[in-house]
């Protein structure tokens, strides 16, 4: 079926031929590497045998780190949030500094498999291990869910299937790679994935920078050109706020909280921390951190430029576009209308019969270019137009409109644009050749796959290595342990797939929730474990539980209608009753994206307070803390 589709559609859309070729080629390479380095023992499965060079580990860490959120989601979010988009840029890279300076070298010296291993040894407690393993599972599943939506979007656009089917295809592919490879397969695959995703991001960015500005270097085009001014003017003209003006999307309080939550969460992410166990010694851990942030910064300094250029391009090509025809597909043969009123009449008739359809607009830009990309994206349901005033063109001006229900709203004729399509559509909007469009699709998949694989490994190791093997079947042999690990991966994929179809937000936002959970649960436990010798079992366990439960409850309550649509019609928490709203004259409280910062603070307070009033940790644990503070001997420590 796939083959007939392929030949049938190939003639119509050259981008699809390229996409198929690139995706098939890159997947073949990943498969080959996964197969070459497949593992039979659990040390290779979880930490790749600790023989990965610093540069390679840096590239793999960068790929692991930069997920669908960085690749597909971030530039799109920035392009709509403008100045406040910096929370994602600074949050993710700034957190990396904390990880490199405060955690990575010491955890490498400790040298065991997983973060819960460290927590269990440092807090001499199997209870602490269980709590940490559960935190790891929550963080990782939230994070994988974001990846699943990203993969789903790519497949749904380029295979022309609904988003749900796209997510399911993504689940199958991600699961296949993760079950096959283990850490060693993942590490080398991720090195390749880094280069695929960075090329896929840079090529269109460089091309667009060259088109819009005097410089092909996006970072220079970003700062030196007049695009920022032009974009500001266009937006003000349409009735929106200036792009470069801070605190339009979030209040200053929320910019601070979200940045902090993302930073401390980054430092506490179990799948990234685990990366540092795979290098030779403490020194290599520090240098692989240098390489990783260097590789990450290449994408992260390009993203804000791409975000701004993409927004400008999008506005220019869509504004005042003429409506060529409107197609309504409702099961039978598609009906084509030439004017908006007739199409609207037919749509209402179908709605009256209980059939919900959205009309697909074929548009021609003011420069006479047909906007084929807009037609394609409308089919995924992620882009919608509505010719409110029936004048045969699409205006992006904000206007007051009275809907069918008689309620007046301020909106534009761009009825809906999912921010996650910005990066993927940019090459098409800019009219770049089809192979660039295909490369971006392959890059988005590389980003999502590399991260999802690393995360599934954490879910698998937490469930199998930290929970199951220890408490259910302590006598399991190597083969059984690997089997349990693989079953755990399948479980992780199913849960993540559910949330990929019912996402609580955009890819970047969902991922931000995962970081909030990590900040509120892991960061204080690991940080105090290294820097505060007095921290003890009772403190850490209580702290992690309080941080995780508080943050998780807040996020679920604020997104209840999205994550559990069968139980709730609306969110239980809204901006008017978010934390701190109404205190000290603050109008908008802390958003669920930033709540991890508060959860972390609670965790710190509880851990320190409880530790001080309960007995200090035993001598062996204090010796352990001394030993992780000194680099020498990390090779030896890794062996037992």
């Amino acid at each position: 079926m796939m083959l007939s589709n392929f030949s049938l559609l190939a003639a119509a859309d050259p981008a699809r031929v390229w996409t198929w070729s690139f995706v098939a080629l890159t997947f073949a390479v990943y498969l080959y590497i996964g197969w070459r380095s497949r593992v039979q023992d659990s040390k290779g499965f979880y930490v790749a045998g600790q023989g990965v060079p610093a540069v390679a580990n840096g590239a793999a860490t960068a790929a692991d780190w930069m997920s669908a959120a960085s690749f597909i989601g971030m530039a799109g979010l920035i392009s709509f949030k403008g100045s406040d988009g910096a929370v994602y840029l600074m949050g993710w890279t700034g957190g990396y500094v904390l990880l490199a300076l405060l955690l990575a070298p010491y955890l490498r010296k400790f040298g065991h498999y997983t973060v819960p291993d460290f927590i269990a040894a440092r807090y001499y407690s199997e209870t602490a291990r269980v709590v940490a393993a559960i935190c790891a599972i929550f963080v990782s599943i939230t994070y994988v869910a974001g990846q699943m939506k990203g993969v789903g979007i790519v497949f749904s656009r380029f295979l022309e299937v609904p988003l749900e089917i796209g997510v399911v295809i993504g689940m199958l592919i991600v699961g296949f790679f993760a079950v096959l490879g283990g850490m060693k397969g993942i590490t080398w695959t991720q090195v390749v994935q880094y280069f695929v995703l960075i090329l896929a991001f840079l090529i269109p960015s460089v091309a667009i920078s060259g088109m819009l500005t005097d410089s092909f270097i996006p970072q220079i085009g970003f700062a030196a050109s007049d695009i920022s001014q032009k974009l500001n003017d266009v937006l003000v003209d349409l009735g929106e706020k200036e792009y470069t003006q801070p605190f339009n999307s979030f209040t200053q309080l929320n910019v601070f909280c979200i940045t902090a939550a993302l930073m401390f969460g980054t430092a506490g992410l179990p799948h990234v921390i685990v990366r540092f166990y795979t290098v030779k010694n403490v020194r290599a851990a520090r240098y692989s951190a240098v390489w990783a942030i260097f590789f990450i910064a290449i994408l992260y300094t390009t993203a804000p430029a791409l975000g701004m250029f993409a927004r400008y391009n999008l506005m220019k090509s869509m504004h005042n576009a003429r409506i060529e025809s409107i197609t309504i597909e409702s099961g039978g043969a598609p009906q084509v209308f030439s004017d908006s009123q007739a199409a609207e009449k037919e749509r209402r008739r179908l709605v009256g019969e209980g059939i919900s359809v959205f009309p697909i607009y074929a548009l021609v830009s003011t420069e006479g270019e047909p906007l084929n990309w807009a037609t394609q994206w409308q089919r995924t349901g992620l882009l919608k137009f509505d010719d409110l005033n029936n004048d045969g063109s699409i205006s992006l001006k904000l206007i007051e409109h009275t809907g069918e229900d008689g309620q007046a709203t301020v909106q534009s004729e761009l009825a809906n644009i999912d921010k996650d399509i910005i990066v993927l559509s940019t090459p098409e909007v800019a009219g770049l050749p089809p192979w660039v469009i295909a490369l971006v699709a392959a890059g988005g998949l590389a980003a999502a796959l590399s991260t999802a694989a690393g995360l599934l490994l954490v879910i698998s190791s937490s469930l199998a290595h930290d929970l199951f093997v220890r408490f259910v079947t302590p006598k399991a042999n190597e083969k059984q342990k690997l089997f349990i690990g693989r079953v755990a991966i399948v479980f992780g994929i199913l849960v993540a797939g559910y949330f990929g179809i019912h996402p609580p937000g955009f890819v970047g936002e969902v991922v931000a929730f995962a970081f909030g959970l990590a900040a509120a649960s892991f960061f204080p436990a690991i940080f105090l474990g290294i820097f505060f010798k007095r921290a003890n079992r009772a403190g850490a366990v209580m702290g992690m539980i309080v941080g995780l439960v508080f943050t998780l409850a807040y996020i679920v309550m604020a997104t209840s209608h999205k994550v559990l649509p069968m139980f709730f019609d609306g969110p239980l928490l809204t901006p008017d009753n978010f934390l701190l709203a109404g205190w000290f004259g603050i109008e908008q409280g802390i958003s669920p994206q930033g709540i991890g910062a508060v959860g972390m603070l609670l965790n710190f307070i509880v851990t320190i307070a409880v530790s001080m009033v309960t007995p200090p940790p035993p001598q062996e644990v204090r010796d352990l803390v001394e030993s992780v503070r000194i680099p020498r001997g990390s090779g030896a420590a890794a062996d037992h």
Partner: protein, 90 residues
């Protein structure tokens, strides 16, 4: 695994204190760049400019990231030196 009592504890205390000093200085820079420049004082700083952009906006979206890379690099080099000085390198 060696523990601290087999080595010279005083040296190791000094090593740890120097380590903390390096980390503290680098994190001060981190805090100023990320929070002071890019969030707390972004609005007044936008009155100055980098190219065609406001200084605060540029730091929030570009400058801070460049500085983060330098911080991690500086940490690796300073710690290398410190490890050699206290003879705890590998």
């Amino acid at each position: 695994m060696k523990n601290s009592k087999d080595e010279k504890p005083k040296d190791m205390q000094q090593y740890w204190r120097s380590n903390l000093r390096i980390v503290a200085v680098l994190l001060c820079v981190w805090f100023v760049v990320a929070f002071c420049i890019s969030i707390f004082f972004i609005e007044p700083l936008n009155n100055f400019s980098v190219g065609e952009l406001g200084l605060g906006f540029w730091f929030a979206q570009q400058g801070s990231i460049f500085i983060f890379v330098l911080l991690v690099f500086a940490y690796a080099i300073l710690m290398d030196r410190l490890d050699r000085k206290f003879d705890v390198d590998e």
